[in-house]
Symmetry: C2
Subunit: 387 residues, 2 copies
């Protein structure tokens, strides 16, 4: 196990009706609030109205930024920054999934920075201060509700990049499973793939002797696999929705990477794919991850054997380690397929036109990943396997 620091400053407020705490949770930070959200679903299902009433009850002045995109854009973030400055906003409340929360984080950092907020994604500046933010989560997926990371897309340059800071941890996140009962099947599936992918990035590590982290990761995967199927069979299954949400939060709240050197290469590659084609992150991951696995599994065969046995219950009798590991990888791919996720790039209308560019961009800051260090040629190979 490596040395590490674990320090998570987000207050997770989980359960039905927890929105009743909203006023009390925002109160310490001020009354000039920016509401950030996506499309019309929060209006359709009454959540918008509820939030407005709570904010009104606490005497808040509310500005709004709506229409946050599934891959949130720099231009939208800049619009939010402008609103914050013009209205002297004291607190940002994000209502939505990971994209909305990520946009809110970027706005929180940009509002108190003199330069271009994009600087934070390219290492040109470090986040020194940020407006406080809180979230009302409506989708089990990114885990952004309990960490300090954000992913933003620059449409002009077709780049998708990450920024992060301890200052961007939400002060609170209200997670009420009833808000996710109306999430459509395809978005539910993308969320499931996203959660599992986060676990993979941290689980497939070369760090020796991390039994607790392994068990936690496997526990999240098993929970997602079981409850993902339950939710798709019955979208109104509160317990299964709750279990998915908690799994999604734990997959990215700092529990899994303690003492572990994580990988993250597949996320980097997926960001290059969806920066150009604007496909949902979950679809890109469903296609790429099993192929990354096939490409790298021999680098630490015993970890993939453990994965196959503990997560997919692969029978080992009479099989080589190689066969067991591959069976686990195929089980992953089959599960994604069973959920209705795409399994190759062709299915989502992507051919090899931009493979060179994607591979170049993926390794622009140097080789990626840690389970196996990937160079441009490796990225190209994984993209080709994914065709």
């Amino acid at each position: 196990m490596n040395g590490f620091e674990l320090y998570n400053t987000t207050r997770l407020v989980f359960g039905e009706g927890k929105i009743d705490k909203l006023g009390e949770l925002i109160q310490p930070f001020g009354k000039r609030v920016l509401l950030v959200y996506g499309g019309g679903s929060i209006k359709k299902f009454g959540l918008y109205e509820q939030v407005k009433n709570k904010l009104s009850a606490m005497g808040a002045t509310v500005e709004e930024l709506s229409g946050i995109e599934p891959n949130p854009r720099l231009s939208t973030v800049n619009e939010g920054i402008r609103i914050c400055r013009e209205n002297d906003i004291q607190f940002i409340l994000a209502i939505g999934g990971g994209s909305v929360i990520d946009a809110a984080k970027a706005i929180a950092a940009g509002a108190l920075y003199d330069g271009d907020v994009w600087d934070f994604t390219i290492g040109k500046a470090v986040i020194q201060q940020a407006l406080p933010l809180g979230t009302l989560l409506t989708l089990a997926a990114t885990g952004s509700e309990m960490n300090g990371g954000a992913v933003i897309t620059n449409l002009e340059t077709k780049q998708k990049r990450t920024m992060g800071s301890k200052l961007l941890y939400p002060k609170f996140s209200i997670v009420d499973p009833t808000y996710t009962l109306t999430v459509p099947a395809n978005q539910t599936v993308n969320g499931i793939v996203d959660i599992m992918s986060h676990v993979f990035e941290q689980y497939f590590s070369q760090t020796p002797s991390t039994p607790l982290q392994d068990r936690f990761a496997e526990g999240i995967l098993l929970t997602v696999i079981e409850n993902g199927e339950r939710v798709l069979a019955n979208s109104q299954d509160y317990d299964a929705r709750a279990n998915l949400l908690l799994a999604g939060t734990y997959a990215m709240n700092g529990t899994l990477p303690t003492g572990v050197t994580a990988d993250w290469a597949t996320h980097v590659i997926e960001h290059e794919v969806s920066a150009i084609y604007d496909i949902p992150h979950g679809e890109g991951l469903a296609i790429l991850f099993p192929n990354w696995m096939k490409y790298v599994y021999k680098e630490r065969l015993e970890k993939f054997v453990q994965y196959a046995v503990r997560v997919w219950n692969v029978e080992t009798t009479g099989k080589t380690e190689d066969e067991i590991a591959l069976e686990g990888i195929y089980a992953t791919q089959s599960y994604f397929k069973k959920l209705g996720a795409p399994t190759c790039l062709g299915e989502v209308g992507i051919d090899n036109t931009y493979f060179e560019r994607m591979a170049n961009e993926a390794v622009q800051f140097g080789k990626i990943g840690n389970f196996k260090k990937l160079y441009k040629e490796d990225v190209l190979r994984i993209l080709e396997l994914s065709m």
Copy 2:
């Protein structure tokens, strides 16, 4: 799953050599420091010297309170409170295991309270403020390094009671596995039993649909079982010590009780036993827990079947659920025995003289536990089973 809040404000700083961060971690809180520790082992192994050098390097003024007992006493806590007040202490640094940390927490709360610190344990007062504290952990056991609870013993009245507050979370805890390489076998064993018992209290719950919490709990148990044996075979096994420490922290840092109605009856009973006989907490738990299990398992048989199968790998073919559950319970008891822990009260010199009193005290505030509500007669029965 129940609703819940998860908010843990302790910075966990884990790994070899992390003591180098001590000055930087204390700095924000002030330079008048009270050092709290137990016996001579931290002096014997050089840790005391290291800490004093770090504090001296940061220009701190240091007072000391040593000789904290394994079941820390109210009188010692009061001595610490006096030192804090007389020296206008700004920060308390605990070096040791759970007892030392618990004493430091009680001192932190008492130093800023006008009345008797014991008030916090009997519901006569609520902690409104506390001095900040930090810890250097030297034993994998109580998890006190990452929560806001403390257990204190009043020797005069022979009572052992709990106090707790969000204000008592350590600001930081430095956990360096090398400090635990010299822990003697019996203390290591008591720590293992303590960690497993914490998990049991939160795992054996009547709350339905908590698959992630279950997997996390089982993951901690499996990690402790495997690494406990490794440590006892080779006390110098850094990796195994590290894994035990991390498991101990996670067993009590708020991860397991999220959304779950925990039990805690066995801890209440054990506190009554060790308040009178002053035996180590771990020994009391090793004796009582398997007998609590035998007494209550039929209240939710399937949970004990799950425990037997997932934690002890109990073969199920041709057995009734009752048999499977009991086999899991016997495996628990056998494991404790294998570690060298006592399995009945007689082994530690306790007979039934005070059973009535223990049972009365255990239920003085009403029935205890949630997996099965225990009345005085139930407590007596569990004590008798433990003879």
